[in-house]
């Protein structure tokens, strides 16, 4: 789509574009290029000499069982977070979309958690589940369960999954609700007159009509679980115990910041970049297709 009538001139548009382009080049393209370049370099132990090593950083990573385990953890973590927060968001949206008293109040009460920062969500969960301080954590221990997410890897994973999903529910809720409200009521009424019961109406009409929203949200949730949960993991478990809650982004951070292994950290960044590019490409292909419906 192009406009027919436009203004003439070169200087003004150039000036208007300048700030955005300058920031994009300095803080996006240049560092992204550097990440790719560093990924092929390796520094010696004293950081004095740097040599070009080709794909060695990548090969080392893919041969490292710990890296593969972290990749697997990330996958389990991301899929669990997405599945949980999508289904909770959908359920609440379906309920809040009904013609009931106080629907507006319910909506506000379910939308506000959007404002909670991931790291803050983690802190809230610590208050609940801390084995000595937390309300639920103490109750679990009193009930005879050996609850301490700081020592037990499985419990730690459960904690970061639940906290991450919890934080994302309101986002999914907002989008599902908007999707539900755009479904024409006449279609549902027709089905009701034909004798389709509510559950059947949901699975045969509502759910298929929501599929573009669901797919969009799936990609957004996966990206969220990959990257934005850094704050949750850092505040809750710091990747531990024994790396059981370490995700790919967390490891890239540790290798770069703590272990100062710039080559490996950059190679990890490049791998993550490829993941984002793939996810974004899938999303845009899908949206292109949806336009033609």
């Amino acid at each position: 789509m192009e406009r027919k009538t436009v203004f003439r001139g070169m200087t003004l548009p150039a000036l208007l574009l300048l700030p955005q382009l300058a920031i994009t080049i300095v803080f996006f393209f240049w560092p992204a290029g550097q990440a790719v370049w560093f990924a092929f370099l390796r520094q010696d132990a004293f950081g004095i000499r740097t040599s070009f090593v080709g794909f060695e950083n990548f090969a080392d990573l893919l041969a490292d069982p710990l890296y593969l385990e972290t990749a697997w953890n990330t996958l389990v973590f991301s899929v669990s977070v997405s599945a949980l927060s999508l289904s909770a968001g959908l359920l609440l949206a379906v309920l809040a979309d009904k013609q009931i008293r106080g629907a507006g109040a319910y909506r506000t009460l379910l939308i506000w958690p959007y404002a909670i920062a991931p790291a803050v969500a983690a802190v809230l969960w610590i208050f609940l589940f801390h084995p000595q301080v937390g309300l639920i954590g103490r109750a679990l221990n009193a009930a005879g369960l050996d609850w301490d997410y700081r020592l037990n890897g499985g419990q730690a994973m459960l904690m970061v999954i639940l906290a991450s999903a919890w934080k994302q529910v309101s986002y999914n809720f907002i989008f599902f609700l908007a999707g539900l409200q755009s479904i024409p009521k006449s279609v549902l009424e027709a089905a009701a007159i034909d004798g389709a019961r509510p559950v059947r109406r949901f699975w045969t009409i509502v759910f298929p009509l929501l599929s573009p929203t669901t797919f969009f949200l799936l990609v957004v949730n996966l990206v969220y679980a990959f990257f934005d949960t850094f704050g949750i993991i850092d505040a809750l478990t710091k990747g531990g115990p024994a790396k059981s809650t370490e995700t790919l982004i967390y490891r890239a951070y540790i290798d770069g910041r703590v272990n100062l292994d710039l080559g490996s950290s950059s190679a990890q960044s490049v791998i993550l970049m490829l993941v984002v590019i793939a996810l974004t490409a899938i999303q845009f292909r899908f949206i292109e297709r949806r336009v033609h419906y």
Binding site: P31, A119, A178, S269
Partner: protein, 278 residues
């Protein structure tokens, strides 16, 4: 709807609301008790009498882990960051979208695509190289280093571009006929029409800026530019002597501004969010 079903709907929705409100309630209550009560794990479900002193201590002195930097100054840093990120993103996105839509010049599409492609480069993916650029520019531990790298935004540019496309050609023709130049048209026609979009974007970007974690963690090493989210997590850092009552008061303070912005601007925000990110 049958009454029995309506009843079930209410129960489920109330359970959902509680699942989000309960943690906040606990923190709110916790922040009104003294350290000993919380440390013993006896967080009651009703408020205690230490609210005033806890908040005063948190606001002015912070916790031991933050070396005497109060939450008041952290909140100021967060506020500055959130507002400047939001206003900065909106301003430069508005300007660049205007240039791309209302002008024809060589390299126009190249400019547009190079902005668009940054969608695929979230800050988390290029943290260290970006950090290196910022430190080479001498911007570590400055507000500029904290804010400017987060200001480029493909999403906001896309939203404005999409909206500008819907402005009828007749408006532009009329403006030209009346002798209005491009800047005048921007100021008198396009800007007023974009107000709703800007309000929605402001909410989304304010929350985005306020909630940043990884970037401020890297770029700020001194307490004077630290944001409240980072400061709070640091307070929990040393498990053994965490001052839980202060952490809880800080947690409440750190939640209030973004929640207030979302709730007060809910109508614009929901519209903006569902339209922006599609």
């Amino acid at each position: 709807m049958a009454p029995r079903r309506a009843w079930l709907t209410h129960v489920l929705l109330i359970l959902g609301v509680i699942a989000f409100a309960l943690p906040i309630w606990i923190v709110l209550i916790g922040s009104t008790h003294d350290a000993a009560t919380i440390g013993r794990g006896e967080v009651p479900l009703l408020p205690g009498g230490h609210a005033l002193e806890n908040y005063r201590t948190a606001w002015g002195a912070g916790a031991a882990a933050t070396a005497g930097i109060g939450v008041g100054s952290m909140l100021w840093n967060s506020m500055l960051m959130a507002v400047l990120v939001a206003v900065g993103k909106i301003t430069i996105s508005f300007a660049s979208a205007y240039a791309v839509v209302f002008f024809r010049f060589p390299g126009r599409m190249l400019a547009f695509w190079s902005i668009f492609i940054t969608l695929m480069l979230p800050v988390e993916v290029r943290i260290f190289p970006t950090f290196k650029v910022v430190s080479d520019l001498g911007l570590v531990n400055t507000y500029a280093g904290l804010i400017i790298p987060l200001i480029a935004s493909a999403t906001a540019t896309l939203l404005f571009r999409q909206f500008f496309m819907t402005i009828p050609d007749e408006f532009v023709e009329a403006a030209k006929m009346d002798g209005a130049g491009p800047l005048r048209f921007l100021w008198d026609v396009v800007l007023p029409l974009s107000r709703t979009n800007m309000a929605a974007l402001f909410v989304i970007l304010f929350v985005y800026g306020w909630n940043q974690y990884l970037w401020p963690l890297l770029v700020t090493t001194t307490a004077d530019v630290e944001t409240v989210v980072i400061g709070m997590v640091k307070m929990i850092g040393s498990e053994a002597n965490t001052e839980w009552h202060i952490v809880m008061a800080t947690c409440v303070l750190s939640l209030l501004p973004p929640v207030a912005v979302v709730v007060l601007m809910q109508r614009w925000f929901v519209k903006g969010l569902t339209e922006t990110e599609k």
